[in-house]
Symmetry: C2
Subunit: 650 residues, 2 copies
């Protein structure tokens, strides 16, 4: 066993291999000592079931409870105290494995839960059977705030889907679910004080308060905080659909179906608005034990404010210079409300204005400049810029994005205000079917950035471990791999999906905001069951092909040559195989052009590989054509094949 072969993700702070292997059989069992929170028993039971599920050993040990825990066992978990689910949660652990047994010790059960995930990742097999390698691990996170934002406003998600993703977060040692509950497109939480909010603002798709409590409990059982977001004063169309009287322009309003930046904005100049928000925040914040409460605050263009003479007069009378200052006025009121409720206010970049009290937490989505500016000005802050997983960029683009890169020169005190980061799963273009494939496995790379040392930066090795994690996340019920097959089977109407899969393996959904220009192409109720939904970010087949091309152009090894040739041949002939499938399903027509282009460039690539004479000039237009979108997706091997053509000797 070699450390470089281990599949640990995120990489622990310290790993040392030692002699011997601990071998598993059906008598494997665990015991728990110390004074942990009761959540450890459920976590240990789940650990046993997952380990048994992988190994098929039929462990005799069943459900663990304080009453059924054995006096002795080969795996000993020792916990000093009950963990608290908050920003300062104690997550460190010490894990040692040798031939005689396993010891996991941690100051709190939360650390032990992190350690159980590490142990699961250590599982290996050889000709004698399953084992854990001898190892000593000391581990704790680099940043205390390691989160995933899930937007349930644009597309609602069933409770079960949220729970599966909480399990995914726990598997990669993340500890915050940022629950984006409201937006122009929906208000997703039941309220008793203002029932019209969920009745009129959700199309019937909202979480009951009991369901919210269930989710918060489920997260806490896994050592994960849940931070709610109620976005104001903008992103508020759903709120104003129910209560237009709090808007800055006369209603009526209706739930937004498109994506983009919308005008409906709360009126910050009227006392009634604050009375409304105080009641609302009081009720909602009581459902979330976490200390932090997110009020959104982004993308307020102030058009309704500009157009409202009452608001203009108010600004004049109170010496409010501009809309940014008016929003700070608004935020100061909110801060007072939230402070009164025992909460710390968090908001997006835009809330950072000269007069903002220092208790607010800045959530940076626009760039690291604002992050550092906030930290320098004494604010705690969290980074999301660079972690926008909805943009369909590869893990390799998020992975190097360090909230505190080695070359920053912030004083320690300032740096300490940078609490961590959050991946953001905005859901304009995802549904319960596809969302897992947009979150996973890429979020695991971000999880490593936030947990592991800043010196862990090898992208190649990250991908090696990410591929393994991809598989392991399936065991939690996540559908990042299966959804693609479901969509392809439907598109192929029961016929063999192989030719479609060959195409889908090398395309990705259009990136950044290009897939949905101006937010107009897709409505929230549009079909997300088509080519672009089957395609996934960070297409693995394309990535491996690109790597082979780079390697081959550096040095023409036979192995790379064969891999390249095999792919080019397959792609060249694939279009003819795919055409009959396209012909039988009008919904697949959008794949025709891009499939033909793949075939064409593969053919040019083959000619180049075979060293035949070719017309380089003619090739240019073919490659250009092949870069165009088809079905809101883009081919991911065009540059690589063009590089072959341009750089191989004729």
């Amino acid at each position: 066993m070699n450390i470089a072969e281990l599949n640990l993700l995120p990489l622990p702070a310290s790993v040392n291999l030692r002699e011997g292997k601990f071998r598993l059989d059906h008598t494997f069992s665990l015991t728990i000592t110390g004074t942990p929170h009761d959540r450890i028993y459920g976590a240990a039971t789940r650990f046993l079931r997952r380990l048994d599920g992988r190994t098929g050993l039929f462990f005799a040990q069943g459900f663990l409870t304080p009453l059924t825990i054995p006096a002795t066992a080969s795996f000993k978990i020792e916990v000093q105290k009950s963990g608290e689910i908050n920003l300062h949660m104690e997550e460190s652990y010490h894990l040692s494995v040798d031939i005689g047994g396993i010891n996991l010790s941690a100051p709190s059960d939360i650390g032990a839960i992190r350690g159980l995930e590490t142990l699961l990742q250590l599982l290996e097999a050889d000709e004698e059977g399953w084992f854990f390698p001898g190892v000593t691990i000391d581990d704790k996170p680099r940043f205390p705030w390691r989160g995933l934002l899930i937007d349930v406003a644009r597309h609602f998600l069933p409770v079960e889907k949220i729970k599966q993703n909480i399990d995914g977060l726990a598997a990669v040692k993340m500890n915050v679910l940022h629950f984006h509950l409201t937006d122009d497109q929906g208000f997703r939480i039941e309220t008793e004080c203002f029932p019209k909010l969920h009745e009129w603002g959700s199309d019937g798709f909202y979480y009951t308060q009991i369901q919210i409590k269930e989710i918060v409990q489920y997260a806490a059982d896994r050592g994960i905080r849940v931070v709610p977001e109620i976005g104001v004063p903008s992103h508020a169309t759903a709120i104003l659909t129910a209560y237009p009287e709090y808007a800055s322009a006369p209603g009526p309003y209706s739930i937004e179906r498109k994506a983009g930046i919308m005008n409906p904005t709360l009126d910050p100049t009227r006392e009634e608005t604050y009375e409304f928000l105080e009641k609302l925040f009081t009720e909602v914040s009581a459902l979330f034990p976490d200390e932090y409460f997110h009020i959104g605050g982004d993308e307020n263009e102030g058009k309704q404010w500009d157009a409202n003479p009452d608001i203009q007069r108010f600004m004049q009378e109170n010496g409010i210079a501009d809309n940014a200052a008016l929003q700070t006025w608004f935020n100061r009121r909110l801060l007072k409300i939230l402070t009164g409720l025992g909460k710390k206010m968090m908001g997006w970049d835009e809330i950072l204005q000269p007069d903002l009290p220092k208790d607010a937490v800045i959530h940076s989505w626009r760039g690291k400049e604002s992050l550092y500016e906030a930290a320098k000005n004494g604010y705690n802050c969290v980074l999301s810029n660079g972690y926008y997983i909805d943009l369909a960029l590869p893990a390799s683009s998020h992975y190097p994005n360090d909230p505190l890169p080695a070359d920053q020169d912030l004083p320690a005190e300032t740096a300490a205000r940078i609490l961590g980061g959050e991946a953001t799963m905005w859901s304009e273009l995802v549904t319960p079917l596809t969302i897992d494939s947009r979150i996973w496995p890429r979020t695991a790379a971000i999880a490593e950035r936030l947990w592991s040392s800043g010196t862990v930066t090898d992208i190649q090795d990250m991908y090696r471990r990410l591929d393994e994690m991809d598989l392991r996340l399936e065991e939690l019920g996540l559908q990042h791999n299966t959804a693609r097959d479901v969509i392809m089977r439907s598109l192929c109407r029961g016929k063999d999906i192989t030719p479609l899969k060959t195409l889908v393996d090398v395309i990705e959904p259009m990136k950044i905001y290009t897939r949905n220009p101006e937010g107009e192409l897709y409505r929230m109720f549009s079909p997300f069951t088509l080519l672009a939904d089957a395609a996934r970010p960070d297409a693995k087949v394309a990535r491996l092909f690109r790597e082979a091309v780079v390697s081959y152009l550096r040095e023409p090894h036979t192995r790379d040559r064969m891999r390249i040739m095999d792919h080019l041949r397959m792609w060249k002939s694939n279009h003819e195989l795919l055409l009959p499938l396209i012909r039988q399903n009008p919904a697949l027509a959008e794949a025709e052009e891009i499939s033909r282009n793949l075939s064409k460039i593969a053919s040019i690539g083959l000619t180049a590989m075979e060293g035949s004479i070719r017309d380089r000039a003619a090739g240019v237009s073919v490659f250009e054509e092949a870069r165009k979108q088809g079905g809101r997706t883009e081919l991911q091997v065009v540059d690589a094949i063009e590089q072959l053509v341009l750089n191989l000797p004729v």
Copy 2:
């Protein structure tokens, strides 16, 4: 278009094709007139989304509500009255499609909901695009009770999984979810009167009352009744774990982890037992608006009764001849309780004893004899014998099982007491991951038996339509196809799964009760992530191969010959491809023998097909060997290949 090409399942009572096609584009919309229950708006919205999901046309019409319904549309739904969700629900509908539009009319919204499923099944495409063929359909069910029992006691299922299966039921026009909530292995419903039941009897896996209401509402929105079952006096270990004082033998008891027939039984001789049950039934029955309440009553072997002198004395004093009579004594008390609660009592076969009042409904699991006996004796009854989908038998074995076959000679009045049937998904050997693959698509064949005319009996055509339905059920989130891939990917540890899939395609889990001998091999917490769990009943590849062999032996067509040869060659060489995967995962070791056997018999089959000389006697033992189980699965092509060997000319 030909009627025989349509993919309707269950087949409607009357289908007539007519001229013309109704073509779909993005302007497609629907309107609703009449006085339906509001559930129709949600149903129509879901219809639109599913249709849009398949066609990719980006319909402009979004969420339908009474307020947003257009005055006119190309698809008109007309409903006379609000449907009632009970045994006598009105499910008939009339559907007509022509070039100018679609009309769906029904006496109740429930009938309209059935018609929407039919319309979705009619969708076709040609070179011009998507269309519905011109058609006139008049439809209504043959039996009023068409159900699926889901056992959530042996393995608990999340709410979402129940909902997906309710959607599946609706897609095949079934109308009863029989919710088997308690058994020896778990008590799965929160009670306020006896909280220890769910606290001590469920390992924490139970439905809250709010979740029960959510499920009942979800079902009602789809025209589906939910019938609860609280099993007594036997199958009661979980109840007695919480309240041993009501047992017929001293406790303590603990939740059962094995499968089989257990001894713990309620004491029917003590008033306290009835006080307990009256309170329990009062609370539980209030959660289920349905008129029927199932009390189980099966598999009471009476061992605790025989051994208890107080019970024996009681029987003597009250002239109770035997345990069957004592159970009837018990049932009479329950019937009184349930009648008082406005419920009709339903129970398994065993409750049918001479003194049983006629208000009880008999649920026949042991055979059609008891069904007819019950009907002749004036009891309403429901058939499950022959519909035990947990036994891993093919759809073709359930499909001919008619509650009222043409050759029965029951008087009409007696026949009318046979209300229908229920497929039974006992869950000893299934988990949330695998249960869909045990329910679907086979249950659709049972759905047809209960909805369509008894003259619809063509098994070949049933399978043709079942294959299409298999695909369509995926659109509801059901995981009957994807779970297999998840398990295989895990077993192959990230390597290409093709060789394992080749094997899994021709094996099935062991049938009837052979997979889990004496209920001892598996515990409820055992791993269900192995070979037998990847395998599915009614393996399609094996079925098609067997059909090809039968056809080829009848007449040696080249097409069949090629299909047979291709498969035999693939299977022959597969073992060598699978071995490296088996070597890297100890959990796959159980596949080695059966994989080798497949390779061996394929090799013998190939020799036979090639007309070479062979030793028939030597072959016999190889085929015998190949019939043995491996990883609790069995090869499904052994007989077919042996038939080739025995019947082909040398």
